[in-house]
């Protein structure tokens, strides 16, 4: 027990780590808050483009979604941060993490929105088109409001997963929670900062999880 306390709840180490972890929380929050809107909106835009049923466009959308869902996000971050400079694109760690995780989130949200849009019954399209509403108005006024209810639960889950996934940015020197924690752990040869990091993630993402429940219940069909 004392060994556990010494290694994971060491007061001296925690004291060193606390201000750095707090600073890391700020970066994690900022990174997550930048990724969620770009990733979700890009995914939405792609799914809407896909409803246009252009064979050419759809091919690229499907390839994009499949590739970015298949490759581990960590690999994508490393490639963007370490490989792109050779092609003349030098991104900061923060920008690389934002870009990489936004792309991953876009790929997943595109699939989520697409599944939701296509699961609205065909009769809804027909009823709307039969009253002379165009494809865009039908999508916006009839299909989307129904699809969003189906998309919200998987979307909030994915948003939480991507938010936690910002921990991956620690390997490309983004000074977020885990990056600071592992630095202090290395300097002090004591893993207590990880306990603090776990608490920091809990403090950031538990409210998000609770908020997602509220959003899900708000968008549920009234019965």
């Amino acid at each position: 027990m004392t060994a556990f306390l010494h290694n994971f709840v060491n007061p001296e180490v925690l004291q060193v780590a606390l201000p750095l972890i707090l600073e890391g929380m700020r970066v994690t929050l900022l990174l997550t808050a930048s990724i969620l809107p770009t990733g979700i909106l890009a995914g939405l835009a792609l799914s809407v483009l896909r409803t246009r049923q252009s064979r050419f466009l759809n091919f690229f959308i499907v390839v994009f979604a499949d590739v970015f869902r298949a490759v581990p996000p960590l690999v994508i971050l490393i490639l963007i941060f370490f490989a792109l400079p050779y092609l003349g694109v030098q991104l900061s760690g923060f920008a690389a993490a934002w870009l990489g995780l936004s792309l991953v989130l876009a790929a997943f949200s595109e699939e989520i929105f697409w599944a939701a849009l296509t699961s609205v019954p065909r009769g809804q399209w027909e009823a709307s088109r039969a009253t002379g509403l165009g494809a865009t108005a039908t999508l916006r006024r009839v299909i989307f409001p129904q699809a969003i209810r189906l998309a919200i639960p998987p979307l909030t889950n994915r948003a939480i997963a991507i938010g936690k996934g910002t921990a991956l940015a620690s390997v490309i020197a983004v000074p977020e929670i885990l990056n600071h924690a592992t630095n202090v752990q290395a300097q002090t040869a004591n893993p207590s900062p990880l306990t603090l990091a776990a608490l920091a993630y809990l403090a950031l993402f538990l409210p998000l999880v609770v908020a997602s429940r509220w959003v899900e219940s708000r968008f549920r069909w009234k019965r």
Binding site: Q124, T131, G132
Partner: protein, 251 residues
């Protein structure tokens, strides 16, 4: 050869063909619908009745043939199909009401976003159309709060709101419990009295006998026989028509 006193032609269908791959759903349909006429399309399932109806506003694209709506070629390249569809109301077997909108929202959606009417104007018109189908009190109800018969009447009000020149109805009572059928038929009867032109796919034979002007019997993608209801129901000349009507009566 229309058998009732022919009013102005609303719908003029010539040689309409619809193929799904090798399957011929419609094999050269010729049909006229005249102003203020109530025309019933009957026939066994799979005979092409719904396909015929859906070709009229191009929910299905015809393979060949022409459909003229008040002289205008519906299938012509460059035709404003949205504009044409506003003039042809459609009612579906499964209602297809928008579940996220109230009855009034369902009726006014196209008024507001296809005709760009201001909300107050659209709402007033929407309430009037709901009142016309006997649902003035239900404007704020959501579809799931309504019975099947009420839902179908909201769908009729939604189609009527655009002041269409013809109503296309695809089995409007087939999804209803028997005791709710009457309320929808009552609305159709009133529309007929008001002079609405209607093309209805239906199996309500008793209603057809009593209320419609003309019956066309479809089988295997062809119009086998058409005429006034008395003649079709009492003295059909084609064996296929007789066999179909006998099967129905045997139920």
């Amino acid at each position: 050869m229309p058998l009732t006193a022919p009013g102005k032609e609303i719908l003029h269908i010539d040689g309409l063909t619809k193929a799904y791959g090798a399957f011929q759903a419609l094999k050269g349909i010729d049909l006229r619908v005249h102003e203020a006429e109530l025309l019933f399309l009957i026939g066994p399932s799979g005979s092409g009745k719904s396909t015929l109806l859906r070709c009229c506003n191009r929910l299905e694209e015809p393979t060949a043939g022409t459909i003229r709506f008040k002289g205008e070629d519906v299938g012509e390249r460059g035709v404003d199909i949205n504009q044409l569809r506003r003039r042809m109301g459609m009612v579906f077997q499964s209602f297809n009401l928008y579940p996220h909108l109230t009855a009034l929202g369902n009726v006014t959606l196209a008024l507001r976003h296809a005709l760009s009417q201001p909300k107050a104007v659209a709402d007033e018109a929407g309430r009037a159309h709901l009142a016309r189908v006997g649902l003035g009190e239900k404007a704020d109800a959501y579809p799931h709060e309504l019975s099947g018969g009420q839902q179908q009447r909201v769908a009729i009000a939604r189609a009527l709101a655009l002041s269409p020149e013809i109503l296309l109805m695809d089995e409007p009572t087939s999804a209803l419990d028997p005791e709710l059928v009457g309320s929808v038929l009552r609305v159709i009867r009133e529309l007929r009295t008001d002079g609405m032109t209607m093309l209805i796919v239906s199996h309500e034979m008793a209603f057809a006998r009593e209320a419609c002007d003309r019956v066309a019997f479809l089988d295997a993608g062809e119009i086998v026989e058409e005429g006034p209801p008395e003649r079709i129901f009492e003295a059909a000349t084609e064996p296929r028509t007789r066999a179909f009507l006998e099967r129905l009566q045997a139920r």
